[in-house]
């Protein structure tokens, strides 16, 4: 028999704001849960390398789920979702993540989200810091307008290709072709949800004026942003981090908006720095408590 990957997949049933959801997730490893959110209009294969990285999975239980309507997580089973325009909101996104962690009995996981997931990570820091041991916002900022565009669903264009090629130069040109094209391929699968996700990304998510209320002593926060990200630029993330007391920001060189998927070896060096910062803060908090 051929060698099987150690990564396993499961479905879990849960409720979010009355929606009956069957959510798919991949996982591998043991230790503190590290819960991973993919980017808008995509799915959990973006975390494929992290899920099989022994250096990380030897210390963390890496869990990468598909948000409802993405990948193998279907739209709500108990609602006529096809009669509504899909628009993701901050309240729903937050409730989804908390329900998922509850469904798996995850206590104090580290949460890491990218792009709209990075923005949502900042929302968790603002709204629910006590539920998490650490937060890693990848390609996140307080506000990211300008990407909720009519082109994603224009009936005269090929939505799959517009979404996939529309995000192409969010990636760095030096990232390996093979992984950039895998990411393109995932995007060609997610066009139906992409626009509604971007309603959250560019419209509903707005933490301007609230960043000073984020308390990183309750939950450490690290932000990572790639220099080739033209949507949430390093300056956007730096500006955001500078307004959050105790937040750490690291600019990632020669990488773009989908770092874990477009060039994992480069991303890994920064992820390890982020995890080291989180662990160090947790260690300090434990010492202070003793």
């Amino acid at each position: 028999m051929a060698k099987l990957s150690p990564v396993t997949g499961h479905y879990v049933d849960m409720k979010v704001q009355g929606d009956a959801l069957r959510v798919f997730f991949l996982e591998n490893g043991s230790g503190r849960p590290l819960v991973c959110q993919h980017t808008a209009g995509c799915h959990n294969h973006q975390w494929r390398y992290l899920l099989e990285d022994d250096d990380i999975t030897s210390n963390y239980r890496v869990i990468a789920y598909d948000l409802a309507r993405h990948g193998k997580s279907d739209p709500p089973r108990n609602r006529d979702w096809w009669k509504e325009e899909y628009r993701l909101t901050t309240d729903y996104f937050t409730d989804f993540i908390l329900s998922f962690c509850d469904a798996l009995d995850l206590e104090k996981p580290i949460f890491m989200g990218c792009s709209f997931g990075g923005n949502e990570t900042l929302q968790l820091a603002y709204r629910k810091p006590d539920r998490f041991a650490g937060l890693i916002a990848v390609e996140g900022a307080d506000y990211s307008p300008g990407y909720y565009l009519p082109w994603w669903h224009h009936p005269h264009a090929n939505a799959a290709q517009v979404c996939a090629s529309g995000v192409w130069d969010l990636m760095a040109p030096m990232s390996p072709d093979r992984d950039r094209w895998a990411t393109w391929f995932y995007y060609a699968q997610g066009s139906e949800a992409f626009e509604g996700d971007l309603y959250y990304y560019s419209v509903d998510h707005d933490l301007r004026g609230h960043l000073d209320k984020i308390d990183t002593s309750r939950c450490p926060l690290v932000m990572l942003t790639g220099e080739y990200d033209y949507l949430t630029t390093p300056d956007d993330s730096r500006r955001t981090a500078n307004q959050i007391r105790g937040a750490e920001f690291i600019e990632m060189k020669k990488i773009g908006h989908f770092p874990m998927s477009e060039n994992y070896p480069v991303f890994k060096t920064y992820l390890q720095q982020a995890l080291d910062i989180v662990e160090s803060r947790l260690g300090e908090a434990r010492k202070a408590a003793d």
Partner: protein, 136 residues
């Protein structure tokens, strides 16, 4: 850029486009015309079924037929066409969002052919851009 150099650029861009594996594989319906405008020069590229049908350099006043235009300063075009372009100059979207590139005209054919246009613009990293000192 002199007219001889522009003609040479057009020749290289046409050859590279017509022999490119991605455009050959996916360009069956790639038919449209667009303008590359640097202020220094205007170049109309006419595509038909994935192949360059014609390249018109600095067309006359009544001879400028195109559906959409990609306009940028010579400096932006030069950076865009580097082998390893710097951040925010590395694609149509990034340069439009952050580096002063402008997409004008009827953007529907651009979106309908986005996969092939994106690829074809990356060929400028091989040929250089049609501006002075455009070759990286």
């Amino acid at each position: 850029m002199g007219s001889k150099a522009l003609q040479q650029w057009a020749h290289e861009f046409r050859e590279l486009s017509n022999s490119d594996p991605e455009l050959r594989a996916h360009g069956r319906y790639f038919s449209c015309s667009y303008l590359l405008d640097s202020g220094e020069h205007r170049v109309v590229v006419q595509m038909y079924k994935g192949r360059v049908d014609d390249i018109v350099i600095d067309p006359g006043p009544l001879d400028e037929h195109y559906q959409f235009a990609i306009r940028a300063s010579p400096d932006t075009w030069r950076k865009f066409a580097q082998k390893e372009p710097p951040p925010m100059y590395h694609g149509l979207w990034s340069a439009t969002f952050r580096s002063g590139m402008r997409l004008e005209g009827d953007l529907l054919p651009l979106m309908q052919n986005l996969r092939c246009i994106t690829r074809q613009m990356e060929l400028l990293r091989e040929t250089g851009a049609p501006v002075s000192s455009g070759r990286s």
